[in-house]
Subunit: 248 residues, 2 copies
DNA sequence: CGTCGTATTGAGGAGGCTCAACTAAGGTGG
DNA sequence: CCACCTTAGTTGAGCCTCCTCAATACGACG
């Protein structure tokens, strides 16, 4: 299914073929397969790496704030961030969670539109816009890959729209869990990592914290899922889970 | 503020500098101004035009259906379309309305993810994906413009997220009207064209038709706006209107 | 001047929100 | 090691808004 380049799960011993910064997306055009694939070739990753600055953000660190000058875009090597905006009403709306191999740094007229904050410790590659321009000029094909990645993010934003369009809290929570499941391990796993807090989940789903809690509790009482600590969910009844999460 | 090239509202007499297919977006980078600008140069429009097929879609025509093979992207010359998906629940979610100078044709793995239908009579430029590839190879700068346009659409999707995140129907309707107002005439106008039906508005806002009706009626009863026929709204109290639409 | 799709209005019920009190977990300093 | 403190999570009661169902009005078009 996937072009499984030379994957090796061990630690980095003798210069493993550079795997970061890596970009993943479901392609725009037809291809053999259905899931996300790696967009950048080894050579392209090197090109990007050369012009990027590797940075580490401890959990909770603000990467940038909405309204500040947008000088860079970022590619995540490892970790999870949230991209959000605080509204006049005092509410916070999380526009997206970003994971390894994601691209973020959405700007408008040179200023970031959202605030981005690390949820877990994050390693990211910061690419200055000048470097980005240079990169695109040097290799137009890299530009194409960034375009496809942006299209991918756009699709995800539309999916988010569909999620929060549901009126029932249980269904929305189920759909988010399904997202997190696909994020991890190609989605055949019954244990889902949930790095973010329930409060973050509420802000993402457009619910109150209480509604999220009640929804998860109901899922547990019905024997569909079970929380293992605060940051992992176990799926007990996959059939019912999918039924809820897909029904839309 | 805008590069007001040679605008002339009359009919096309002696070869006016080709204005279509035209792409508009708020830029990614800093620039002098704040609204959307034209992305393509005259030469680039010619390049695009050469590889595109001009097509006319009467109102209500389906441009393409979700799930069908995504062979082309489209740039709108004139008219309005809706891009939507029908859910298993029987509900319809409109992901976006697209207007003149917009780009649509979002695909995943070579298949359209949404259905697109003309709301008004539409003139569009259909660009086959092969032609698009060729176009990008020929002029990487055009590719960049398509990237910026996609980023623009992504921002709009996020804004849509914020709209439907509101719980009050009146506020959501106000935000949509504000969008339509900005779409038309740089937004200094008190008369807003509303090409779509209230049912479409409901599907866009994630409300029932009845809720949309009641919300508009309340706006009218409070003397904030007034419907003139079915497809135009007049703003009576701009201050209150903005307060509602911005508050989020 | 009928007919179909769109729009409007009312009544009743469900679900999420707010407010409020309380519990659990994680981190820090003595 | 434990007391303390802070943040995250849980649960209940009552309110409010939107949804559903149902009946009716309007308007464009043939």
């Amino acid at each position: 299914m996937r072009k499984a380049s030379n994957r090796r799960s061990g630690g980095g011993t003798a210069a493993p073929a550079l795997r970061e910064p890596s970009l993943a997306a479901v392609p725009f055009l037809k291809f053999a397969g259905t899931g996300p694939i790696e967009l950048l070739s080894d050579a392209q990753r090197q090109q990007v790496r050369r012009r990027a600055v590797a940075r580490d953000f401890p959990a909770r660190t603000i990467v940038y704030r909405a309204g500040s000058s947008a000088d860079s875009v970022f590619v995540i090597g490892e970790g999870v961030v949230k991209s959000y905006r605080d509204l006049a009403s005092g509410r916070r709306r999380i526009a997206a969670f970003f994971f390894a191999r994601d691209l973020f740094g959405l700007a408008e007229s040179g200023y970031y539109v959202n605030t981005v904050q690390a949820i877990t410790p994050v390693r990211a590659y910061e690419i200055h816009v000048d470097a980005l321009t240079e990169l695109f000029a040097h290799d137009p094909d890299i530009e194409a890959q960034f375009l496809w990645k942006t299209v991918h993010v756009l699709r995800e934003a539309q999916h988010h729209n569909i999620i929060i369009g549901r009126r029932d809290a249980v269904g929305r929570v189920a759909m988010l869990l399904r997202l997190l499941r696909k994020q991890d391990s190609a989605g055949s796993n019954r244990n889902i990592p949930v790095p973010m807090s329930k409060s973050d989940i509420a802000d993402y789903l457009g619910l109150s914290l209480e509604a999220v809690v009640r929804a998860t509790r109901r899922l547990e009482r019905q024997g569909i899922v079970q929380f293992v600590g605060r940051h992992q969910v176990q799926i007990l009844d996959l059939r019912q889970f999918e039924a809820l999460a897909v029904a839309a």
